[in-house]
């Protein structure tokens, strides 16, 4: 290209560029003219309108709170609902003299010391222009009495508010959860999730269980009214409005009756039970005993009740099924057994002769069997049936800790089950790498030995153990456990079933599985460790008992139940599924300080299975929807419960 073409090109290009620039200049002029037009419209044409609005800033936006969704059990029994109550509320900045007002009010309706205490506490937390309840749950007579005398009380208003109520009080509280007043932390969370505007006017929020985990479904969408207000703050005219959308209803997988029967069967003992449908992961019962009354928390719990619950040595606030971690004890054996079979280390007709103890090579330490004289000739099936420690000590050593843990991890040990409510602990499946990191110590062979019988560092939650049992019952297919079956759309009444998700799929040799399952079935037959549990059942139960040590026993000491304080007795475990051929329910129960799984934990599981499989209801009293207790009319205030202050 010659110089002149290049120059020509250059000029040509500059010309093209300038055409484009002119276009942009036109765009700028158009856009700025539009802005100018808008300013003229706002500042000249509609000046009077905005001038007035600004002068009084008299547009007020009033939120309309949506109804919270209901929670029901799998059969439609309502476990959480709402009802209207009259409350008397005071806006301190609008009263002439607060003390006088309260004293005069007290002559009209009863105001108790607790009411006053709560009022003081709430007042300290609020602005003077906010309206604070002085009395809740007014009856019709009291409400009418105040209405007539309303003119005497500036700044006091009678309001009708929706309250959450749990008709069965303590039933299944840990799973259902509860709602309580929104606190600073909740506000921060809501802001982060861009939900703040939807919570204008809402005072309560789910704090635990399903109420917390499904808050987004249950809450609904807040409506609003844009109103013009006069100088006294009274609404004169509604300018525009949108009605609220109620929260969606939730159908649990929980069977309230089953839950109730189990809670009753615990008969005051501490512990937990989780029952799962193996094929679906539906949690049929999630019991943690002792429980507590969720209604206490709805309007702020008072100091006395809070202290009682929080300081009780029985720790009722802890959800033991998700947060209680215990050594699995012998309930771990079926899973170790399967590891042995699948790895090829223990194939029939492998048999040991049990002298009543196990010794590592080059060591004189005796790992004792629970039966000092030993079980004689023991094969895999019998090892499970009689819970032979010696057999599993040797198996664990031969498998090695890593192969053992790698295998059982597929059953969910050492990991959260990812159930659909929050707060779950993951238990512990110890490995040499873990021990090095945690204690900066090497792994010892002796530690492998005791992992074989579920002792040592191994820890599980009842939920994990129920999940593992369900996975075993389901031939290695692990379904994520969940408490919620379906969500019912508040507007359309459309039922959205939540999907069952497969968390893990182990391919297991059918013959190996059969050996373990037969061993577990023998447990509830004559000669097994829980023969009494299976007696006259009418269906086959596959089960395993277990004991979790609370206090260590020295090498030459004997564990004597009667000499040990109740709190230091061993915890009793029992896992089971039934019917053994076609499992419909899988259970893990722990009874704290219950000593023997077969005698204390087993019977609870049996009652649960009898009800679920045969519809048998124990003769003892049961909760019936028709005899639901009336809403508790004493209303309580108010240390804000941030969270259960322990873990």
């Amino acid at each position: 290209m010659g110089y002149s073409t290049e120059l020509k090109n250059h000029l040509n290009e500059q010309h093209k560029f300038r055409v484009r620039l002119v276009f942009l200049i036109l765009l700028v002029l158009t856009a700025f003219s539009a802005l100018l037009g808008r300013f003229y419209f706002l500042q000249v044409y509609r000046y009077d309108y905005y001038q007035t609005l600004a002068e009084n800033n008299r547009i007020s936006i009033v939120p309309i709170t949506p109804n919270r969704g209901l929670i029901s059990d799998r059969n439609g029994i309502i476990l959480a609902h709402n009802f209207f109550v009259y409350t008397l509320e005071i806006t301190p900045s609008k009263t002439d003299d607060l003390q006088d007002t309260i004293a005069e009010l007290g002559e009209l309706v009863e105001i108790s010391a607790t009411d006053l205490k709560r009022f003081k506490k709430l007042r300290a937390q609020s602005h003077t222009f906010e309206s604070i309840p002085i009395r809740t749950h007014l009856n019709e007579y009291e409400a009418a009495k105040f209405a007539v005398n309303r003119f005497r009380f500036p700044g006091v208003e009678l309001k009708s508010r929706l309250f959450r109520h749990y008709p069965y009080g303590t039933l299944g509280t840990h799973g259902i959860g509860y709602i309580s007043r929104i606190n600073e932390n909740d506000l921060k969370q809501l802001k982060e999730n861009n939900q703040l505007s939807n919570y204008k006017g809402t005072e309560h929020i789910g704090k635990s269980g399903v109420e917390q985990a499904y808050e987004a479904e249950l809450h609904g969408i807040t409506g609003f009214q844009q109103v013009e207000i006069d100088a006294d703050g009274r609404a004169v005219r509604v300018l525009s409005s949108a009605s609220p959308t109620s929260g969606n209803n939730i159908v649990l997988s929980m069977d309230a009756k089953l839950q109730e029967i189990v809670e009753h069967e615990f008969a005051g003992r501490r512990g937990a039970l989780v029952a799962i449908q193996p094929k679906t992961g539906e949690v049929l019962a999630m019991v943690s005993m002792p429980s507590f009354d969720a209604n206490l928390f709805v309007d702020g719990i008072d100091y006395d009740n809070w202290n009682n619950l929080n300081n009780s040595p029985d720790k009722p606030l802890i959800n033991r099924s998700l947060k209680g971690i215990y050594p699995p004890g012998s309930t771990f054996k079926p899973f170790v057994a399967l590891a042995g079979l699948e790895s090829g280390k223990r194939q029939p007709p492998f048999t040991i002769s049990d002298p009543g103890y196990f010794m590592l090579p080059n060591s004189r330490h005796r790992y004792r069997d629970w039966k000092p004289s030993g079980h004689g000739a023991v094969d895999m099936r019998k090892a499970i049936t009689v819970s032979c420690d010696t057999f599993f000590y040797g198996l664990a050593v031969e498998l090695g800790i890593e192969r053992l843990t790698d295998f059982v991890r597929h059953f969910g040990f050492g990991e959260k089950t990812n159930i659909d409510i929050q707060g779950e602990l993951s238990g512990l499946l110890p490995t040499p790498a873990w021990k090095q990191k945690r204690f900066k110590q090497p792994w010892y062979m002796g530690e492998t030995v005791i992992v074989g019988i579920g002792q040592g560092y191994t820890l599980v939650t009842p939920m994990q153990l129920a999940y593992a049992t369900a996975t075993l019952a389901n031939n290695g297919k692990a379904i994520r456990p969940h408490l919620v079956n379906a969500i019912v759309d508040a507007k359309t009444n459309q039922v959205k079933m939540l999907p069952h998700t497969t968390a893990d799929q182990l391919t297991l040799n059918a013959e190996n599985l059969e050996i373990v399952k037969l061993g577990m079935m023998d447990v509830t037959r004559p000669g097994g460790t829980a023969a009494a549990v299976g007696a006259n059942a009418g269906y086959d139960i596959a089960a395993k008992t277990g004991t979790a040590q609370v206090v260590g026993i020295k090498q030459n000491e004997k564990y004597n139940e009667k000499l040990i304080a109740e709190r230091h007795r061993d915890h009793a475990w029992f896992i089971a599924y039934a019917p053994a051929e076609d499992p419909k329910i899988a259970i893990a129960v722990i009874v704290e300080n219950g000593s023997h799984g077969g005698s204390t934990a087993g019977p609870i599981a049996r009652k649960a299975m009898d009800y679920y499989l045969l519809g048998k209801v124990p003769v003892d009293p049961t909760v019936d929807p028709s005899t639901a207790p009336a809403p508790d009319s004493t209303v309580i205030n108010a240390p804000e419960v941030e969270e259960e202050p322990h873990d």
Binding site: R20, L21, L36, R38, Y47, Y50, K200
Partner: protein, 365 residues
Amino acid sequence: MIRQWIGHFIRHIDSILLATVLMVLVVALMVLYSASGQSLLKVNAQLINIVVMMVVMLLVANTQPQHIERIALPAYLLGLTLLIAVALIGDISHGARRWLNLGITKIQPSELMKLAVPIMLAWYFSKRESMLRTADYVVAGVILLVPVLLIAKQPDLGTATLVFASGFYVIFLAGLSWKFIFGSAIAFGAALPILWSMLHDYQRRRVEILIDPSQDPLGAGYHIIQATIAIGSGGMTGKGWLNGTQSQLDFVPERTTDFIFAVFAEEFGLVGCSLLLLLFTIIIGRAFIIASQAKSTFARLLAGSIAATFFTYCFVNMGMVSGILPVVGIPLPLVSYGGTSLLTLGLSMGLLMSVQSHKRLVATD
């Protein structure tokens, strides 16, 4: 000697640009004093930001455009790397992943891209000068869209839109065919109803609120309603400096940053608004003149893009505050409080001055 040196240094300043910018800054400081509840602390902090901006502007004005051309690719690649780092390991705050924690300090790489993208594109087109083919526009599109998508994903739609605009202006000025522009506009318009039908209810609701905030008067709409009242009640001549009731009584949100224009409009009225628009128009007009006189492709594309982007900032901010555009978090250039925005503006103004004062050198290059 020193006088000579200074003389050499300030020779590169464009007096029209500087004078107009300074006028806007004086107004800005007055409004900031009022909007901050008469806080000298905030005004002082902003003064320091302005000094930094001026120093940066002078330094860049003294840099030859060829030198800037040389850093185009490295700056772009650095920005892109940082954006990817943000996507992978960035800090989350308010639900978005925008910041990169360097241990000592946190940076927001998307800011860098506001200039790195147009510089990169201007450089690319100047390299391909006189042999431009359709494929070049495709490459340019990729250069533009990769960072824009990364920023949009953070999510930071405001910045993504601006980075897109600044890059698009370069491509537009480089001669992107009208057919393509109108074609995609029509295609987009046609696709809208289909896209709309694919959205979930709640997603539609979000878009509706973005377009018309008055549908959510408890949340996003509250800002707009109050800002509109502030502007409207300003009237022809305004309520007077420090006398805006809406602003002084806390009704106007974010009133030192994104919504500062509402404070200005309430206190200075339509007269003030018109004058401010005039000052902005002078800055933009001057920038366009610099672009049209520039002698190299790189310089003219960059200057044109800076001018148009500056306009976009002004228009989107004032449009959003006065309620004709959706709310996106964009400051009003030179007026809103904040160091980052001023720093970027210092760079931009410096680049314009550099283009203007080095045009002879470039021409004989």
